[in-house]
């Protein structure tokens, strides 16, 4: 994964996006035990063109020129399918802005904080997100005040408080 991250860092340095952070299952992998996942999800803050429009074509052109294959919406970079996801709402944008610097081997990268990953999972609420969310509650080192602040800010407190109800309460 280090080679993949080097390429993504090059894309950042060359201005293909303003900032990035690893999210999704691989973001979660930094905080909880391994669970099967196949994509490296990269949340990005895209560069807007002068008209204020967002385009990912420069990103796809850049990788195509370097010989990285595209498979549907993924790009296979150094053996890993990478999914670039423009920050699609305020929560994800804040998650990228507040991401933390981490090392993978010797390579610096940026990862969404666990509290934001939990809020995004709660917002998305697919079954696999809810399973991961439970793992976060059991295993991850969290800041409860930060988590509560995020949940309040994005109207997710009730969903969080109701987590597991119906599945465990019979």
């Amino acid at each position: 994964m280090d080679k993949t991250l080097v390429v993504i860092n090059s894309m950042l340095q060359e201005g293909l996006f303003r900032k990035y952070a690893i999210g999704g299952g691989i973001g979660a992998l930094f905080y909880i035990e391994p669970m099967a996942t196949f994509d490296l999800d990269i949340f990005i803050l895209p560069v807007e063109d002068p008209a204020g429009l967002i385009s990912l074509s420069s990103l796809y052109d850049w990788t195509a020129k370097r010989g990285y294959a595209h498979a549907q919406e993924q790009i296979i970079i150094e053996g890993i399918p990478v999914q670039f996801i423009p920050a699609y709402n305020d929560l994800v944008t804040e998650a990228v802005l507040q991401s933390v610097e981490k090392k993978y081997k010797e390579v610096t990268t940026y990862v969404v904080r666990p509290e934001y990953l939990m809020a995004i999972m709660l917002q998305t609420s697919r079954p696999k997100d809810l399973n991961r969310l439970e793992a976060f509650l059991e295993e991850a080192e969290l800041s409860t005040p930060l988590l509560n602040t995020i949940l309040d800010k994005y109207g997710l407190k009730n969903s969080f408080d109701n987590l597991g109800k119906g599945r465990y309460d019979g």
């Binding site: 196949f38 296979i76 993978y104």
Partner: protein
Amino acid sequence: MTDDIKYYNAFVDRVFESKKEYHRNAAKLPIEEKVRILVELQKIAVAIKNKDTAKENRFIWQID
């Protein structure tokens, strides 16, 4: 509550606590080790996939 039930409940509590401890320890592994495990999980998931329901884009990471 009989002694047998108390003993049984205590045993079950210990089993669950032991499982939690296992998962918490796995969460603390270095990320490089977690990625190594992840690739093994990908191989298993692809090997047991149901051909009718499996996603087409499951790609085992080709990393060193």
